[in-house]
Amino acid sequence: MFSGKKTKKNLLIGGIALIVFILIINVFSSEARNFFYKISYPFQTSLWKAGNVTSNFFYAFFKAKETSKEVDLLRKKNQELLAKLALMKEVKNENEKLRTALELNLQKEYKIFLAQIIGKDVNQNLIVIDKGEIDGIKQGMPVITCQKSLIGRIDRVYKNFSKVLLISSKSFSFDVLIQTRDSKNDILGVGVGGGGSKAYIKFIPREKKISENDLVATNSLGGIFPKGLLVGKIKKIKRSDTEAFQEAEVELAANPMNENEVLVITNH
């Protein structure tokens, strides 16, 4: 292999041309990626939706037993929630009156932008959405689901597309508030991504009492996210007598793989 003067010369020229090409394309990387995303956008959108439907079908097919158990559990939870809802309705009425009096509403609280997920980055923990610089998207903007659960924040912005760094990414950290059952004692912590679809809360003082299923929401202390966006609930707690802090694994409320659209908060 690679013998003969002519072949060696051709390989050398090819190698140099390739290096020059890579150097040039790195200068225009944003434009190049935007161009490729623009070409693939219609296919990616369809494939993303098809993937969602197919995976749901197979999930239902292979996990019928688990699904029926989950349905039973959800029915019970639904009943509990309906009972709570009845109570909440009264509070809501009162709230609405107050809100009108203060001339406030949720849309004024957040200015949101609907974007469609078109794909996932090859290196994981990043998703691509179909809104970019020309739509007013900027780096650092929070991204949530339509149910207002946190997904991540804008990491890179191209002309027509953006990449969202998921909260499960290992390079992600943000302030969180653990809403304990005793609502007077909400606990501060630092949320960090654990890779895959995991996230952890670190630096929870050992003396603070947290329990499984406690809700975790964002805190505005770090200035990254607005206060009160749902992150998930506590799944597992790790306590050690030798360490000053305890750690908790979080079951994330949002799974971007099950979503087709996300909301970008543009005025935070």
Partner: protein, 103 residues
């Protein structure tokens, strides 16, 4: 050769779309399945040492993976090219794989 390269570009582009938009819905297998890497390794193992098509495929596949990733351009390209060269220069020379010999 040009026809083969064009077909590779189309096929690898399709693989990239599947990898980024379709497979991530299928749990961890879908997340880590890299069709381009598998195809490049298979092509380099199956073709003769003198042939260059496997290397060209590594360049095409690597470039497309770079487009759909967040890294600098050239990283995936370099990785795939090195894997292909390793197969051609070492594995094909010093390792005998009976199944491949039959092919």
């Amino acid at each position: 050769m040009l026809k083969k390269v064009l077909i590779s570009i189309i096929v690898y582009f399709l693989f990239c779309l599947l990898q980024t938009s379709f497979f991530p819905h299928f749990g961890s297998i879908g997340n880590y399945l890299n069709l381009i890497l598998i195809t490049t390794i298979a092509l380099n193992l199956l073709e003769k040492r003198e042939e260059m098509f496997g290397l060209i495929n590594a360049v095409i596949g690597g470039f497309l993976l770079d487009v759909f990733s967040n890294n600098i351009f050239g990283l995936n390209l370099a990785i795939l090219l090195l894997i292909s060269l390793f197969i051609k220069l070492f594995i094909k020379r010093y390792v005998e794989i009976p199944i491949l010999e039959k092919i």
